[in-house]
């Protein structure tokens, strides 16, 4: 890739080491259950992901607000006191924090799963998670990166093809 093209790619597409991927994936894990949070953290670390844990959705949201490019993926419990998984999804959408979110729960009711997906979760997983599931969680990040790349290529193309409609008038 020519360096000129690289510069056009948005920062959010290039915040991981592509060679190591998915090792080094930066995951934010949220769960008010200290027992499960330590199990999840161990599983994520065993996948060579970089893990940050929070026991409250509010704290997770603060970290994401501070710098959304600090994390590649959020994995969050659904039912938590104060702020739950639904509210976290809503707030992330409001604040335009487009990091992929995986929701997990012991609750497996169809309506609950549907509500999560409608609110923007990219995946819903039943607790307790299996190692096999955690191993492939990176695919949501990969999908998003690809989407990002395609969108960047499109806007590059339109500039190169002399389509100035995208450019703001100064």
């Amino acid at each position: 890739m020519a360096s000129g093209e690289e510069n056009i790619l948005s920062d959010s597409c290039r915040n991981y080491n592509a060679e190591e991927f998915p090792a080094g994936l930066r995951v934010l894990a949220v769960d008010d259950d200290p027992c499960y949070l330590s199990v999840l953290e161990k599983m994520l670390r065993d996948c060579l992901y970089q893990v940050t844990t929070c026991d409250r959705a509010k704290d997770a949201l603060s970290l994401l607000e501070e710098d959304k490019n600090k994390f590649d993926l959020v994995i969050s419990d659904l039912h938590m006191p104060e702020m739950d998984g639904f509210q976290l999804l809503e707030m992330m959408e409001l604040l335009d924090i487009d990091v992929p979110v995986v929701i997990m729960s012991v609750d497996d009711q169809k309506e609950v799963v549907m509500k999560c997906i409608l609110k923007g979760a990219c995946e819903y997983l039943a607790k307790p998670l299996q190692m096999e599931t955690i191993k492939f969680i990176w695919r949501h990040v990969f999908r998003k990166k690809q989407k990002c790349l395609k969108e960047s290529e499109k806007s590059t193309e339109s500039v190169v093809n002399g389509d100035n409609s995208q450019l703001k008038t100064i």
């Binding site: 200290p34 027992c35 199990v39 161990k42 006191p81």
Partner: protein, 151 residues
């Protein structure tokens, strides 16, 4: 049979019985597989968190169910938490009673809830004793110079 082998055999038999009798399920195996050289006490640490959390939740539940006006939403929230943490270590019997408990909550059945509380306390105490015995047996194997067999 030397001491170490005997102790190891005892440990394996005891562990198998916990699975056969439904105290523990596959999730407990997952915990054991996560234990490694860099986290040699992982299982004990996670199970200790489960004990702490459960005791807190059971105390809260007892308090709430003693009230004149029972806040069933609170009861349900606590039982949901207990269901979650018991499922994270594979404490199957506790998890099952939690399911029945949540049904009683939904029906706002006071007597049902009180019975479930007694039942879940019983199952919790039972699995706690079993796990403490398991950890003691593991310590005995290690003290005798053996290693914990992979199940």
């Amino acid at each position: 049979m030397d001491t170490v082998t005997q102790l190891q055999r005892q440990l394996v038999d005891y562990t198998n019985s916990l699975f056969l009798e439904g105290f523990l399920n596959e999730q407990f195996n997952q915990l054991q597989q996560l234990q490694d050289e860099s986290n040699p006490d992982f299982v004990v640490e996670v199970v200790s968190l489960f004990f702490q959390d459960s005791e807190r939740l059971l105390n809260e539940l007892a308090k709430i169910l003693e009230q004149k006006n029972i806040d069933f939403k609170k009861v349900d929230a606590h039982v949901h938490q207990l269901k979650g943490s018991s499922s994270s270590i594979g404490a199957q019997r506790v998890q099952r009673v939690c399911i029945a408990f949540r049904n009683s909550c939904e029906e706002k059945n006071i007597e049902g809830c009180q019975k479930c509380l007694q039942h879940v306390k019983y199952e919790y105490t039972h699995v706690k004793n079993k796990l403490e015995t398991l950890f003691k047996l593991e310590q005995q194997v290690l003290a005798a110079g053996g290693t914990i067999p992979m199940y």
